[in-house]
Subunit: 209 residues, 2 copies
């Protein structure tokens, strides 16, 4: 129980490490110490050492971490060094933004299809991809190995479409709707609740005003 | 100290209450009990009663909450019943998605201007608004009372533009860049780190696989 919660906590911090170490790599920095990382990430150096001890060989006492090696190893751990096939459901501004966004992501996420909820958009072309009809979702997933679906559809359609994705064998949903999806535990759901984020912001403004 | 952390915890939950109570309102439901809310939100009924006790009068023992009244009161508390003037900085797909997104938000957020970082986009029209040049940011903020800036620009420009917004008197930044902004405490920063969210997702897939 204790060990599991620790590893969850570490796991939750890994993407942040990955981002910072990636910045160092971009800046051409080759070595970094746990105390430098700790300042950058605003956590204690001992926690950094603890978090990263699983990447054995990456850090040596008094020497620091090899940035490239550490970046590679954290990338392996969080699964971004393998390519995931993605579909985006919803072809409005948000869906289009997500397609553009994932194209950036250092080849870890390949958008294989975009599905439009609004049938008038079907057949249009975005980023050299034809917007597909939702009617063909199951057929498409049968013919293409898709692991992740980004869901950017109206809230009222979210649950129904998630159910179809589940039956078609999706592994993970990046959920941008304001709906909490009820799915079996085996399916990973990562929520980005934009409306709630916006309310957090106005709420905090309201209090600090 | 203890009391402050409690109120922060409650404050963090209020947007979620607001969303659920809003759904009840949309469904035409007039009364709701703390136990019904607790089931819906997957937290204990006693916590619901505790969280909502500040909205005195909204709940009566054995009677439940008046949905409309509760929605209004939570809305007041999180500041969404007043209108905030917003500018969106960055006119790519994500910036455009955010403009569309805020137009939905029940009149709480009014997008007053969109600024393009890419100068080739300046002068184009989106949602009946001309895309403005970043050169005119300070002038625009002098002439228009703007409280919130949504920041959807390349990471490398984030810090510099945030500094300009700060000097121009911004109250809050909805930050979609992958940069942690260093700003004085008086300015509210709400982060939506899409890249990190995507990595959390792939990381959790990697573990559950």
């Amino acid at each position: 129980m204790f060990e599991k919660s620790i590893s969850n906590a570490v796991r939750n911090r890994l993407p942040k490490y990955y981002r910072y170490v990636g910045e160092l790599l971009d800046d051409g920095i080759e070595k970094v110490s746990s105390s430098e990382l700790s300042v950058r990430m605003n956590i204690s150096a001992s926690l950094v050492r603890q978090d990263l001890c699983m990447f054995s060989g990456a850090g040596l006492q008094g020497y620091g971490y090899d940035v490239e090696d550490l970046y590679e190893k954290i990338g392996d751990a969080i699964g971004v060094n393998q390519c995931h096939n993605v579909i985006v459901i919803g072809a409005g501004n948000l869906g289009q933004a997500l397609v553009s966004y994932m194209n950036f992501a250092r080849n870890s996420f390949a958008v294989k299809g975009i599905f439009a909820v609004n049938s008038r958009l079907v057949g249009h072309v975005f980023k050299r991809m034809e917007l597909r009809s939702l009617d063909n979702l199951e057929q498409f997933m049968k013919e293409n190995p898709i692991q992740i679906a980004a869901l950017a559809v109206p809230d009222k359609s979210a649950e129904r479409i998630a159910g179809r994705l589940q039956k078609a064998g999706i592994k993970a949903i990046w959920n941008f709707t304001n709906t909490d999806l009820n799915l079996p535990k085996g399916i990973v759901v990562e929520n980005v609740h934009l409306a709630e984020s916006l309310m957090q912001l106005s709420s905090r403004m309201n209090i600090s005003a």
